[in-house]
Assembly symmetry: C2
Homo-oligomer: 222 residues x 2
C-alpha cells in the first residue's frame, strides 16, 4: 500500500506498530523529534520494526555536510531513509551526506519541491538546477508535492527509477490517489491520520480512496 504516515508530533510510539501491515511506512518529522526526544524517536523505530515498512526521518536537513552528519548519526540503525533539501547543493553538503548514508546502508531522499504556495517563490523557479543536483547526488528517493501533480510528472519523466514520495495529501488539500496517478510511489499523510480519533480507520479509508483513484474509478475534476 503506497501510503506513508507522517508523525509530526510525538504521538504514542505504539501507533507505529499498530499501523504495521496497514500502511507502507512512517515518516518522523523534526518537531516530533524535538518534543519527543531522541529516545522517543528510537522507540518509534523499534515499534515500526515489527513489520517491513519504511522508517524515514524527516529533519528537512539543509546544512553543510559536517552539521548534517552530526544530525543523522544518532539515528543510524534506527531509520532507513533520511530527507534533506536538494537546494543546498552537492559539494561540501549533500555529497558528504550521501557518502555517509551509503556507508551505513541508509537511503537519502531529496526534496525537489514543496507542497505550500510559497514553493513557487524560489524552489519551483529553480527546478532545473534542482534536477541537476538530484542527477548528480543520486538519492534513492525524491520528495515532490501532491498539491502540484505536474511537478511530479516532470520528475517521474526524468528520474524513472527513483522513488517519489508525495506529501500534501489531507490537511494541505490534495486528495488521496492523484499524486500516485501522476507518478508518485508513495503518498504521505499526517494529521488526517495521526489526529483522527481512530487513526487506523482513517488510514484504511485513505487507502480505499487511493485505490479507487488509481483504478480509474474517479475522474479528475480539476
Amino acid at each position: 500500500v503506497p501510503l506513508i504516515v507522517a508523525f509530526d508530533e510525538p504521538v504514542e510510539a505504539e501507533l507505529a506498530a499498530r499501523l504495521c501491515g496497514i500502511v507502507d511506512g512512517i515518516k518522523v518529522g523534526l518537531p516530533a523529534v524535538i518534543r519527543g526526544g531522541l529516545e522517543w524517536a528510537r522507540e518509534v523505530s523499534r515499534a515500526a520494526g515489527s513489520c517491513e515498512g519504511l522508517r524515514i526521518l524527516d529533519l528537512k536537513l539543509a546544512d553543510i555536510g559536517h552539521v548534517m552528519r552530526l544530525s543523522v548519526e544518532p539515528f543510524i540503525g534506527y531509520y532507513d531513509g533520511f530527507i534533506a533539501h536538494s537546494f543546498v547543493g552537492g559539494e561540501g553538503s549533500l555529497d558528504e551526506l550521501k557518502s555517509y548514508l551509503d556507508h551505513h546502508g541508509a537511503r537519502l531522499v531529496l526534496v525537489a519541491s514543496m507542497s505550500h504556495p510559497g514553493s513557487r517563490d524560489v524552489y519551483d523557479r529553480a527546478l532545473d538546477f534542482i534536477m541537476e543536483v538530484i542527477e548528480r547526488v543520486d538519492p534513492w528517493g525524491i520528495v515532490a508535492p501532491a498539491t502540484r501533480p505536474s511537478i511530479i510528472g516532470r520528475l517521474r519523466a526524468r528520474f524513472a527509477s527513483k522513488k517519489i514520495l508525495s506529501p500534501g495529501v489531507g490537511a494541505q488539500g490534495a486528495r488521496p490517489g492523484y499524486a500516485l496517478r501522476a507518478g508518485a510511489d508513495y503518498e504521505i499523510v499526517g494529521r488526517a491520520i495521526t489526529g483522527a480519533s481512530d487513526p487506523l480507520a482513517a488510514a484504511k479509508s485513505i487507502i480505499e480512496a487511493q485505490e479507487e483513484v488509481v483504478r480509474g474509478g474517479v475522474e479528475e475534476d480539476g
Copy 2:
C-alpha cells in the same frame, strides 16, 4: 564584539555563561539540540541569559509553516532569534513563521546563501529570487557566508538596516574580520572555539584578529 559562537555539539551548558561579556552571543545548532535534548538547549539559554548576548536557535528551518511553528514553540522564551531558509518562500511557510515569531517577540533570521561550495549549485544562482523573499518576509537578520564576501556586499547594499550574520569563519576556511569588512554585523565561529582546549582564549584571539582586520591593519591577500 561582533562574534557569535556556534554550539553544534552538546558542549557543557556552562560555557555559554563563561563566554558572557566576551562574545556577542551564541547560536545553538540542530545536531546539538538532537543530541543534548530540549532541556539541555533550555539550560544553555539560561546560562547565556546571565548577559545581554544574542541567543539564536539554528534549526535551519525549511518546511511548511505548520511544521516550523511546531518546531520553534518549545524554544519560545528561551531563544531570541530563529534561523530559517529563505528558499522555502513566503505563503504557507515563512509568512506564518514570521507572524508567529512577531507575536512572541522573537526574531527571524533568514539564510540567503551558504558557506560551502555546493551553495553555488542552486542557492547562489537563485539569489535574485531569494532577495525578493527576504524583502517581502522582512526578517530581522540575514545569514550570508564569510567564505564569499561578494555576496555579503550585495546583501548589505540592498538591505541596509538588516543584521548580517556570517558563518564559515575558522574550520570552513574564512579568516576572522573579512566578513565584517565586507558588511557583516557578526561573524559566527564554531569548532575553532568550542573544540579548543581553552575556548575563552580561542575566542579572545579570534576577536583580536577581527579587530586588526577591521581597523585595516591587515591587507587582503586574495
